[in-house]
């Protein structure tokens, strides 16, 4: 039982990170019908940018709430700008091209970002300082929760609830949903589709940036090619939840995180990846549009 509860905590932590990254995939897919394969590499880039801001600007020794907030804000801003540039340079010229061209462009853009990280920060693993967050640990009858885990769970929840309300309750959010349904009809409402796509990339990249920083803080070691692994897991989470579906990405991320943690706890962590794809295959066989699926209300 202890293992179960402990892995529940660990799984929800990892799952929140997957969910944050999965939201970036699913939002871009929802509006553009494009899998942004470079998204995972933006997550990796975020960890390196954040680490540099922290060590260069604040110096490793100093920790304060303001320093941490600044690192998060600046990193998110930088990654949002990179995300917008990515769309302008790699995807917008291919907006009317066949779908496959844009996917290849996405894979290429991912490689460019990955190699840029390697050229700037080098091929070796870099280590995040351990003092960004207090090392407080809570122990409930053997079930351990760290301060970092609590921050990950808390901030991710706030961001996801905020995003849900933004998408479902605001005029801009409704315009985003309308654009995802029918771009031409959206234009006829006076919606600037390019602006909507830019907003999507700003939101998706910022959420990915938060995840990237948390990955650095939680796991400490970051490598230039780690975006691939986190990106792939989050992409699987988005598909499991139902790609294009925002609550689906949140659900898929949390579910995949829990599933991974339980496999690691009860079987072996080296099998976790394998089971991820077994789960994906099973979901795709029984629910090809994902567990929550694409929202459909078309009358034939």
């Amino acid at each position: 039982m202890d293992i179960f509860l402990q892995q529940l905590v660990n799984g929800l932590t990892i799952g929140s990170l997957y969910a944050l990254v999965a939201l970036g995939y699913t939002m871009v897919y929802g509006v553009m019908k494009l899998i942004n394969f470079a998204h995972g590499d933006l997550v990796a880039l975020s960890a390196f940018v954040g680490l540099t801001i922290y060590t260069q600007v604040f110096g490793e020794g100093i920790t304060s709430l303001i320093a941490v907030i600044t690192v998060f804000m600046f990193t998110a801003a930088v990654i949002a700008v990179v995300g917008v540039l990515l769309e302008r340079l790699a995807y917008r010229p291919l907006r009317t091209a066949p779908r496959l061209s844009a996917v290849v462009s996405a894979l290429g853009a991912g490689l460019v970002i990955q190699n840029a990280i390697m050229l700037i920060w080098g091929p070796n693993m870099m280590i995040f300082p351990s003092n960004l967050f207090p090392s407080t640990i809570w122990n409930f009858n053997g079930i351990v929760i760290t301060f970092t885990q609590l921050m990950i769970l808390g901030l991710s929840s706030v961001l996801m609830v905020g995003l849900y309300f933004f998408i479902n309750r605001t005029k801009m959010g409704t315009a985003i949903r309308a654009t995802a349904i029918d771009q031409d009809a959206a234009k006829l409402m006076g919606i600037n589709v390019n602006k909507i796509i830019m907003i999507i990339f700003i939101i998706g990249s910022s959420l990915g940036a938060v995840a990237g920083l948390f990955i650095g803080i939680y796991y400490r070691g970051v490598t230039f090619d780690m975006g691939w692994m986190y990106g792939l897991n989050a992409f699987v989470a988005a598909i499991i939840g139902g790609i294009g579906n925002i609550p689906g990405a949140m659900f898929g991320g949390l579910m995949l995180g829990l599933f991974n943690a339980l496999i690691s706890g009860y079987i072996s962590s080296s099998w976790a990846e394998t089971f991820t794809f077994v789960l994906l295959i099973v979901v795709l066989i029984f629910r090809p549009t994902g567990i929550l699926g694409e929202k459909v209300a078309e009358k034939v």
Partner: protein, 238 residues
């Protein structure tokens, strides 16, 4: 008194190598209802999509309310006072009826409560179903929604593409009644219709489009009484 709200001059539109519109001229005066008739594939929808900026013309000019809009993107044309209810209704299926209407008012800082209430008055079915997802409405209700959504932006010119297509006769009447109400409220209407008779009854003037060219134009009475039009579009035999 007849001030031109919309003027299209020598418009050419191509899809790749295929010329769909081969130099048409038309105008719509303020307060008029003008209809464009024509067979499938004549270029009616292409003409409308080019006017509202969804397609780019290869030649010619479009002037709206004294402003050249040939190169203006579709989303900016809406705030100039033109609204286009597209062929096939194109309502946002997974948005509620009310959300669809509010999207119609996207260009306004705040949607106009009076306009919304007025739409609910002339199309009461929409009010009954306002919380329902648009995709679950019947075809006729979706058409009502598409028209209501288009007038939420308080346009000067309302463009309607085949509003009665595929609807039961009783619903066609409701739709045409609504268009008449909208026209009488002071909105200029450009209407493309396959129901030529109903369209000409409602319109002041009409154009006949054949294979990308305008072959006839005139007042509605002239067109209704013309033998060629009667044979080709009104189903009358000699």
């Amino acid at each position: 008194m007849s001030e031109k709200l919309l003027e299209v001059k020598n418009l050419h539109v191509s899809y790749g190598a295929i010329k769909a519109i081969k130099g048409i001229d038309l105008y719509v005066n303020k307060g008029e209802v003008v209809t464009i008739l024509g067979a499938n594939g004549a270029g009616k929808t292409t003409t409308l999509r080019t006017i509202s900026g969804l397609l780019k013309s290869s030649e010619g000019s479009i002037t709206f309310d004294g402003k050249e809009i040939t190169q203006v993107p579709a989303h900016d044309i809406v705030s100039l006072g033109m609204s286009h209810s597209p062929e096939g209704r194109r309502v946002f299926g997974t948005l509620s009826v009310e959300e669809n209407l509010l999207m119609g008012a996207y260009t306004l800082k705040k949607h106009d409560k009076e306009t919304l209430n007025w739409i609910y008055k002339i199309l009461p079915r929409l009010q009954e179903r306002k919380m329902q997802l648009a995709g679950t409405l019947s075809g006729g209700e979706q058409q009502m929604l598409a028209i209501g959504r288009a007038i939420m932006s308080k346009p000067k010119l309302l463009i309607l593409d085949e509003p009665s297509l595929g609807l039961a006769p009783v619903l066609v009447k409701v739709i045409f009644k609504a268009i008449r109400d909208i026209s009488e409220s002071g909105v200029t209407v450009l209407l493309v219709e396959q129901n030529a008779k109903a369209a000409l009854k409602l319109a002041n003037r009409g154009y006949v489009l054949e294979l990308g060219k305008i072959t006839h134009e005139g007042s509605s009475e002239e067109l209704l009484n013309s033998e060629t039009i009667q044979e080709a579009y009104l189903g009358k035999k000699k």
